[in-house]
Symmetry: C2
Subunit: 158 residues, 2 copies
Amino acid sequence: MTDFLNQIKYEGITSRLKRLSDVLLYSTKDLYRAEGLIIEPNWNLIFRLLQEKGEMTITEMSETLQFSHPAVVKIVNKMKAEGYITAAIDSKDKRKQVLSLTQKALQDIPKYEVYWNAGIRVIEEIFEDSPNILEELSKIELKVKELDYKQRVLLKIK
Amino acid sequence: MTDFLNQIKYEGITSRLKRLSDVLLYSTKDLYRAEGLIIEPNWNLIFRLLQEKGEMTITEMSETLQFSHPAVVKIVNKMKAEGYITAAIDSKDKRKQVLSLTQKALQDIPKYEVYWNAGIRVIEEIFEDSPNILEELSKIELKVKELDYKQRVLLKIK
DNA sequence: ATATTTTATGTAACTGGTTACGCAAATGTA
DNA sequence: TACATTTGCGTAACCAGTTACATAAAATAT
């Protein structure tokens, strides 16, 4: 943190949040590469989701993870290419892809879980001075969902 | 927030931070576009920096804002193209660009400040249940700087 | 004085996300 | 039954960042 960023307070918070998530993201990629793991950030979310639910469609995933659907399409396509996900057409609705984990996924997940679990402990460690961060984040997400940033700014001005 | 994201707790925090900063970013762009303002997110940081310091180089800016230098180059080039920044070669060091605000910048800033200040009040409003967020963010940034995420994960595993 | 290393900056390629658009299948309605 | 609307999802173009690499100038060391 530089003096300037401290001084401008809330004005710099958006880019600092972006930078923090970027730092974690690139460091995660670096970790996987260095350890020779053929996975990418966010795949753990999909793996866990499918482990829990068994089968899911793109739209269900995007709603559950709060990602845009094209983002989910990209992630899922990479995971298919790596042989971790298979797709079947829904018998009642031909538009839907029913996605599920492959045998290879079930085989490899335990190896990856070592890293994911260590990662969670590191996050807990890094955020230890912010013990309520998850509840606070939920409140913030709710607020911007109820009335977005742009509308709030316009309300303040008019 | 979905049940699933609540349930996985710290495992989803990186992508939630990314999403939050994205939401704020795109909403800011949307605001500027809707109001016909010919500026972009982050320009306010550069404007404020140059107002305070008068002159700065690319490298000084990237250190102060904690952005990579190519990121600063991109932002500054756009601001030059819009006529808000001029560059002069440093007399002692020909590699350096000494950047400063143009007359047009000084003229237009008051108009933009209305939006930036309203934006700050909105951020305060959105983060009102996280009153210590700035101090907490500083601590987190310091921690990942001291020892990055990847190294911390490897330490936990070995 | 010359060779080496460091610094300032620019450029290219890539990242995980987004919005915008298109299309076909399913659903609702006249 | 026909037509209009909604839904699922694929693709393209874009976005603000990043890392990796190149180059020239400055600083340092020999």
